[in-house]
């Protein structure tokens, strides 16, 4: 089983962030970058698949040179090799990104590595487009299933489970296939110090894809209003009852 995982370098989702003054980007001066959380689970799933089924694993990302850090982190966890589709750091829309990944997959397949499975996160933590995995599958003409929380293999088929209200939806896909996974499919391992030291010696292949004409252009970013954590104390003891009744009426509860 040869598995390729596609990941994205994103700002740490738990961090406080600000926008640049022109509203075109996130101000990254004091930000930590990480692997998008769903994709971190995809990396873990690829390693587990290899541990059970054998074969090879590779991780791929499209981004600037610094994104090699997220590849290296995946290698530290146990992924065999990395592929960086190196850009100048500007944002690529989902169509351009998926086309570059398809080109890379096809070019790697020509060298003899046939991927059975390409894993994505369900959506990236920054732009949340939900598109790249589906677009790659369509372009490769491979079956695709999204939002998966369990993967097993039976008779050269992927058996994938997706959470549904009150139960699970079960899918069977013929290999090769594309699967996008969600957080909760597994608990990603922490890269050990030894793994990090070993990853220094693993190969990262660098490909510079030609930048296509972008068809989806970003106007600007807007920071959503922060949710208020304010607590209003309506009173104490029995004397608070009229204020509570008034508030419940105001909220339309009674």
């Amino acid at each position: 089983m040869n598995t390729l995982v596609c990941i994205k370098r994103v700002p740490d989702t738990g961090a406080r962030f600000a926008l640049t003054s022109d509203g075109q980007d996130i101000d990254s001066r004091n930000l930590e970058f990480t692997i998008s959380p769903h994709e971190e689970c995809a990396v873990e799933e690829a390693i587990r698949i290899q541990e059970k089924q054998g074969g090879s694993t590779a991780v791929l990302t499209l981004g600037p040179e610094v994104a090699s850090e997220q590849i290296r982190e995946s290698l530290a966890k146990g992924i065999d090799r990395g592929v960086l589709l190196e850009t100048d750091g500007s944002e690529w829309d989902p169509q351009a990104t998926s086309q570059a990944i398809v080109n890379a997959v096809q070019s790697i397949q020509k060298t003899g590595t046939k991927y059975d499975l390409v894993l994505f996160g369900n959506e990236s933590a920054d732009s949340g487009d939900y598109q790249v995995g589906v677009r790659v599958a369509a372009a490769l003409d491979w079956p695709c299933i999204t939002g998966i929380k369990s993967i097993e293999f039976q008779n050269n088929q992927v058996v994938a489970k997706r959470e549904a209200p009150g139960g699970w939806e079960l899918f069977r896909l013929t290999l090769p296939a594309v699967v996008t996974v969600k957080e909760g499919i597994n608990v990603p391992r922490h890269p050990s110090l030894r793994g990090i030291m070993t990853a220094k010696k693993k190969e990262i292949e660098r490909i510079k894809p030609a930048k296509p004409e972008l068809k989806l252009l970003k106007q600007n970013l807007r920071k959503p209003q922060e949710k208020s954590g304010e607590i209003q104390i309506l009173g104490h003891g029995i004397e608070a009852v009229p204020a509570i009744v008034a508030k419940l009426k105001e909220l339309g509860v009674i």
Binding site: E32, E73, H190, P191, S192, I196
Partner: protein, 381 residues
């Protein structure tokens, strides 16, 4: 703040340890603080993460990494909400095991070091005594050579990890008449005959770290368990104390940084007299001033690491750093508690625990007064 001292590997390692602390330690710290200890399993998990032998040779299971990797580890452990647990772990990694790794014979290293690096065996460093404190030159505990054994007699106090440790690195007088030139370091196993361990309870802070008093009554120790050379123990301890102080600086500075971050969150969510606490100039000034001091403390610690990394004498830098970091960390704890107001006096927030925990660092690993004493002496005053 990014630093030129850290590479891609260091950054990946930092994220790994931070996640480990957030996911494997922090959810349990209230329980462990209440219990006054934490499960030994934590050492095993840390061993699996590869952090109990960061600078030790790969042949014993170590990572052969650099001092900056140690700095990253200690900084991230400083963000554990139980600073007591952090201290216990640092006793394992940088206060007890270095005696074995850097001065132990090949026989001792083969026998004990892999277990300490994997987390199967926990270590304690045994120096202070009830009557003379940390005045090693005048210690009362003796180790008399008898055939192929040393016979150990005496009492020790304030021993971190006493209740959990399997291996005790004990300083004792092998030549009682020779002052500091008569101290040796012995490795004593927990189940040795005549070795009694009594818990010390009701510490001000560092609650999840167990502390004990030890008594040796004619305790036999195999002569092969001598660390390094006989009567050189004082010098080994002086050398090792630099590392001990350095790791404490990394941890306490990072704890202080976390307290500032917590306090910013609190100040931004707390409304007083019609506006957020963070919108008052006084709050903003205080936090900016504290951040400046924490950054200065951190950079002084990095300067010490830089000297060590280059093989230069780091004693002055470490002594300054230990004194300054402890002062700054305690100032941060006090000021951040003050900004929290009444909430800062309630255990629901981390700040009261941090306030108690960080107080130790003006005392542990050498008091602030001792640091300035060392510096004054080295200044020729």
């Amino acid at each position: 703040m990014d630093s030129p001292f850290f590479s891609e590997e260091h950054r990946i390692f930092r994220r790994s340890v931070r996640k480990f602390v957030d996911e494997e330690l922090n959810p349990h710290v209230d329980e462990w603080e209440a219990a006054g200890r934490f499960p030994k399993e934590v050492y095993k998990k840390l061993g699996d993460l590869g952090v109990l032998g960061i600078r030790y040779p790969a042949e014993y299971g170590g990572a052969d990494a650099d001092i900056w990797t140690t700095a990253v580890f200690c900084e991230e452990m400083g963000r554990c909400r139980s600073r007591g647990l952090t201290m216990s772990v640092l006793v394992q990694t940088d206060m007890s095991s270095p005696h074995l790794a850097y001065r132990g014979s090949d026989f001792l290293k083969k026998k004990y070091l892999p277990g300490m690096i994997s987390g199967k065996r926990v270590g304690a460093i045994v120096l202070s005594e009830p009557e003379v404190g940390s005045d090693l030159a005048n210690m009362r505990t003796t180790a008399k050579k008898k055939g192929d054994q040393y016979i150990l007699n005496g009492s020790k106090t304030y021993i971190t990890n006493a209740l959990q440790a399997d291996l005790f690195f004990v300083a004792a007088k092998t030549d009682p008449s020779a002052g500091k030139k008569g101290v040796s370091m012995l490795l004593v196993e927990r189940d040795s005959p005549g070795f009694l361990i009594e818990p010390m309870k009701k510490k001000l802070g560092m609650h999840a770290s167990d502390t004990g008093e030890l008594t040796f009554q004619n305790t036999p120790v195999p002569a092969e368990n001598l660390i390094g050379e006989e009567n050189q123990g004082f010098y080994y301890v002086m050398e090792s104390l630099q590392k001990e102080r350095f790791v404490s600086c990394c941890a306490m500075t990072s704890s202080a940084q976390q307290a500032i971050e917590d306090t910013i969150d609190y100040a931004q969510s707390r409304n007083i007299f019609g506006k957020k606490l963070s919108e008052y100039d006084l709050t903003r000034y205080k936090l900016a001033r504290l951040q400046t001091r924490v950054e200065a403390a951190r950079q002084l610690t990095y300067y010490a690491a830089h000297l060590y990394d280059r093989g230069l004498d780091w004693t002055d830098a470490v002594s300054m750093s230990k004194a300054f970091c402890a002062e700054v960390a305690n100032e941060v704890a006090d000021e951040c508690l003050q900004i929290h107001g009444g909430a800062g006096y309630i255990e629901e927030y981390d700040i009261p625990r941090l306030f108690r925990d960080l107080r130790l660092w003006k005392i542990g690993a050498g008091t602030t007064e001792v640091m300035y004493y060392i510096l004054a002496k080295r200044m020729g005053i």
